[in-house]
Every structure is written in C-alpha cells, then in structure tokens.
C-alpha cells in the first residue's frame, strides 16, 4: 500500500476524534496531536475494529473508516478521562 497523503491523514484525525479515539478539541488550547498520540489512537481503532495493529493509516484502516456505521463514538468519555488524567 502507498503512504497516506495529507488529506487522508486529515480525514483520519477527524474520524478518530469523532469516534472517541482522540480527545475532543479544546478551543482555548488549540492542541494538536503528536505523532505518538496519533499512532496510539490508530492502533486503538484497529484493535477495536479487528484489524492488524499497524499504527498507520494503511489501506484496510482507511477502508474501515469509510464503512457505514453508527454515529455514536466507540470510546465514550475520552475527553473526560483525559481531563481527569491531566489533573492527576
């Protein structure tokens, strides 16, 4: 498979945020993700979807992200958990 282009990464981050694998954006900090954070989120998504955990936006992962699905997030309350962790 070829390397994902910038658009696929952009859409991938959007997808991962929407379904709870990345924390929701905070308008006051405008935080961006580190590469390690993004890889961990992709692996988490792959594990949940039953895909091979490559940590990259490979063809199977992008294809899975394009499948019709339920609107609700897979990971509930990520941002709340992250907030608590930050406090600790």
């Amino acid at each position: 498979w070829s390397r994902p282009d910038a658009m696929e990464i952009s859409k991938g981050v959007d997808w991962l945020t929407r379904y709870g694998y990345l924390p929701a954006p905070d308008p006051l900090t405008a935080q961006q993700q580190t590469l390690e954070g993004l890889i961990a989120a992709i692996k988490s998504m792959q594990r949940f979807a039953g895909l091979k955990e490559t940590g990259t936006l490979d063809e199977d992962t992008i294809k899975m992200m394009q499948r019709p699905r339920c609107s609700l997030p897979d990971i509930i309350g990520t941002s709340e958990i992250m907030r608590r962790r930050r406090k600790r």
Partner: protein
C-alpha cells in the same frame, strides 16, 4: 461487551415511531413492525419489556436528515446511518434516530440498501444501555455488517445476551425455549486511551482569523465553516472552534482544483445533504468531502449570472436556498431545481445590512447571520430586519479573539487568545 454506564430504572419501557422516512420502499406498517421486532429481540433475552405509547414515549423513533439539533448530524447516503441515546432522565434519553437519506430495506442484499432491522437492533441496544463492542459476533459492533436475515428468526449473539442480562436480569425461560445463538465466549472490551501530548506549531503563512473578512461561511452538518483563502476553521454546534489554527481546504475537501485560491460561497443542500462550493462562474457538488464527477459546472445551471456570487444559504424559516450577489438576491427551490419567480430582488429588503456581503448562515439556534468584513448582523427567526445592537464583531463573538479593540495588531498575540503557552481550561 461494553456498557454505557447508564441503565433504565424500570423494566417496562414505552416506545413510538414519531416520524417515518420521506421516501422509502417500506410502508409505514412495515417500518412499525420492524421496530417492534427489533425491540422484542432484546426483551426475549432479558427482563425488559416494551409497550407502544401514543405520546411521551421513552424510546421515540425518528427518521431525520442532516443536522437535526442533537449533536449527531447525518450525512446523506452511507457514512453515519443511525444513533440512539443512552438511558437517563433527559427527555432525549432512549430516543433513536435513523438517517432519512438512507435507502432502508427489509431482508434484501446489501446492494439494495441498508437493512433497517439490523440497524434498529443495534440502536435499541444503545437505547437500553449498551455501548459499542469490539466482539466479532456482536450486533453492537459500530460498523454496519449487512442484513441479518429473517427478523422473526433472529437471535442475539451471546455477547449481547450477556450484556442485556447484566443490565436487566436474565429472562425466566421455559424449558422448551431455545438457547441463544452463537455461544462464542469473548473477552470484555478494555478500551485503550491514547496519551495526550499537545503541541503548538503555528505555520506563518496562514491567515489571521481575528481579522475576519472571510470568503465564505457555511453551516455544514450543524457546524459553521469559515473559509478564507486556502484555509478554513470549524465551529462545532457547541460553539467551540475545532482548532484556533485553520485547516487547508485542499487537505480536506477532495476534488477542487489545486490552484483554487479561495471559494466564494458554500452551502449544504436541503434535498440530499450534498455540499455545494462556488468560485466565479463555477460550482462543485460534494458528497461528504469528495467532489462528484462532472464538476465544475456553470452557474447558469441555477439561473444565476456568470459573475459569481457573494453568499449562499438555506433559510431555515422556509427551507429555500438564497443566493446573493452585490445588491441583489435570488431564491432557489431545491426540490424543483428552479429559481423562484420574481427574483432577483434588492438586498435592502433585508433591513440593516449592506450590499456585497461576505456570506450568510442559518445557525442551529434558528437565527440567520449576515457577515461582512469584521462585522456580522443577526436576524432572529424569520425576520427580515436585523436585531437591535448589531452589527457586532465577528472576531470577538465567533473566533475566540480576546481583544479590547479590533485594530489590535496581530503581533500582540496574547491579547488575542493566541499566546504561545498551553493552558488547561480549568487553570
């Protein structure tokens, strides 16, 4: 299996189909019966039961499209199919919404559409307190897995039976009752939460959101998109900016010419939730983030002059699409694909706003906002007269620019909410 953390405090729930699809091969009676069967799947496996109600039902079932004011907008055919709200005390708790733009089918192969029964079983699982499961055999997997066969013979996988039994207790069985299908043991799902390490890295070539003067502003799926040059910002329904930093148009919207330096106007169509981009005499139609083949096409398709438009928006008051150019505006009917008679009219019919607006949006609060330069005007509901107290500052009210004066230079970022440090909200 995975549980949401909330559960109904009663074992008899009421339900009602509140609205039906606008166009569906299924009759209202078939849809009603499929919903009943999907609910019964869960009651057969636990001590929960359902009763149809005429009003104030716990589980209110609706077919909606696009943004429908619950924070989970639909997106036309494919993509998101449905959602339901977990149990609780809020009026929306238990309510279940299906995307009206899908082609809902009954026990047909996947190529014909989406199996309503399969999706309904999944969504009612949420309405009862189940979260998404990663178990291979679970109906609570988040991805659509195709039709599940005859609704009368469908049985929940063991993973889901275990989950619903834990929430509402095991159904007392007669000895002759069948056991659940697919007794495949699965491990409980333990989600992994990725570490969060924020960084702040602002490219220097991006436009300054605090200077406003946006090229186009659009309400897409309930979010407001602010376009400026080759970039855009997103404002969520909660009025949070996704990021203070803009995203690049060409890295998100696929199919626009690479040399396109800006867009004139953007809007989401009411009839099919597709998104239309305008630039000069050209327009493109997008399915989600991808341009459809055959574009760009000419503005003459709409009956508009070739000089381009300043603004496009759907007025929630009447569902019609409006196009603005200079001192004139037109009204377009998406369902007949024709411009309404009697147009164009003069912009001054919208009292209080100048000509040559940047763009216009109908926001989720039911009001309409006109933008020009650094100012915006608010029109409450269906009024055509701007509210008193307007215009106001776009930068301050929409862009999170914490400034005492709009003339403050960008070189003073700390007065614009752009200081380089990372500060947690609570501190």
């Amino acid at each position: 299996y995975s549980l949401s953390g909330t559960v109904w405090s009663k074992n008899l729930l009421t339900w009602r189909v509140n609205s039906f699809p606008h166009a569906s091969p299924l009759t209202h009676q078939e849809i009603h019966d499929l919903m009943l069967k999907a609910l019964n799947v869960w009651s057969k496996s636990s001590e929960i039961s359902f009763q149809e109600a005429s009003a104030d039902a716990d589980i209110l079932i609706d077919f909606s499209r696009s943004h429908h004011e619950d924070g989970y907008p639909f997106d036309g055919i494919g993509g998101t199919l449905a959602h339901a709200f977990f149990p609780g005390e809020h009026p929306i708790s238990g309510d279940t919404h299906f995307d009206d733009d899908e082609i809902w089918t009954k026990s047909l192969p996947e190529s014909y559409g989406t199996d309503l029964f399969a999706v309904a079983v999944h969504e009612f699982g949420h309405a009862l307190g189940l979260a998404h499961s990663s178990a291979e055999e679970s109906i609570m997997r988040p991805y659509y897995q195709g039709p599940v066969g005859n609704p009368d013979q469908y049985k929940l996988p063991q993973d889901d039976v275990s989950a619903i039994e834990q929430l509402y207790g095991r159904r007392k069985r007669n000895p002759d009752q069948e056991k659940p299908a697919l007794p495949v043991p699965t491990q409980p799902n333990i989600p992994y939460y990725p570490p969060q390490r924020p960084t702040y890295n602002r490219p220097r070539d991006q436009p300054d959101r605090c200077k406003a003067h946006f090229d186009a502003i659009a309400n897409i799926r309930g979010e407001v998109f602010f376009f400026k040059k080759r970039y855009f910002w997103r404002l969520q329904p909660s009025r949070n900016l996704v990021s203070l930093n803009p995203a690049q148009i060409h890295q998100f919207w696929e199919g626009l010419p690479k040399d396109l330096d800006r867009v004139d106007a953007v809007y989401e169509r009411t009839n099919d939730s597709k998104i239309v981009f305008f630039r000069g005499n050209n327009y493109w139609v997008f399915k989600d983030t991808k341009a459809e083949p055959g574009y760009p096409r000419s503005l003459s398709d709409f009956g508009l002059p070739p000089a381009g438009i300043d603004a496009a928006f759907v007025w929630r008051h009447n569902g019609k699409t409006y196009f603005f150019q200079g001192s004139r505006f037109w009204r377009f009917d998406e369902h007949t694909s024709r411009m309404d008679l009697g147009y164009p009219k003069e912009v001054n019919m919208w009292q209080g706003v100048p000509q040559d607006v940047d763009d216009i949006v109908s926001w989720n609060d039911g009001n309409t906002y006109f933008f020009k330069g650094t100012k915006y005007w608010k029109f409450t509901g269906g009024k055509v007269e701007a509210d008193i107290g307007f215009p106001r500052s776009v930068a301050r009210d929409w862009m999170y620019c914490d400034m005492t004066t709009e003339d403050l230079p960008t070189q003073w970022p700390k007065f614009r909410g752009e200081s380089d440090c990372i500060c947690a909200r609570e501190s």
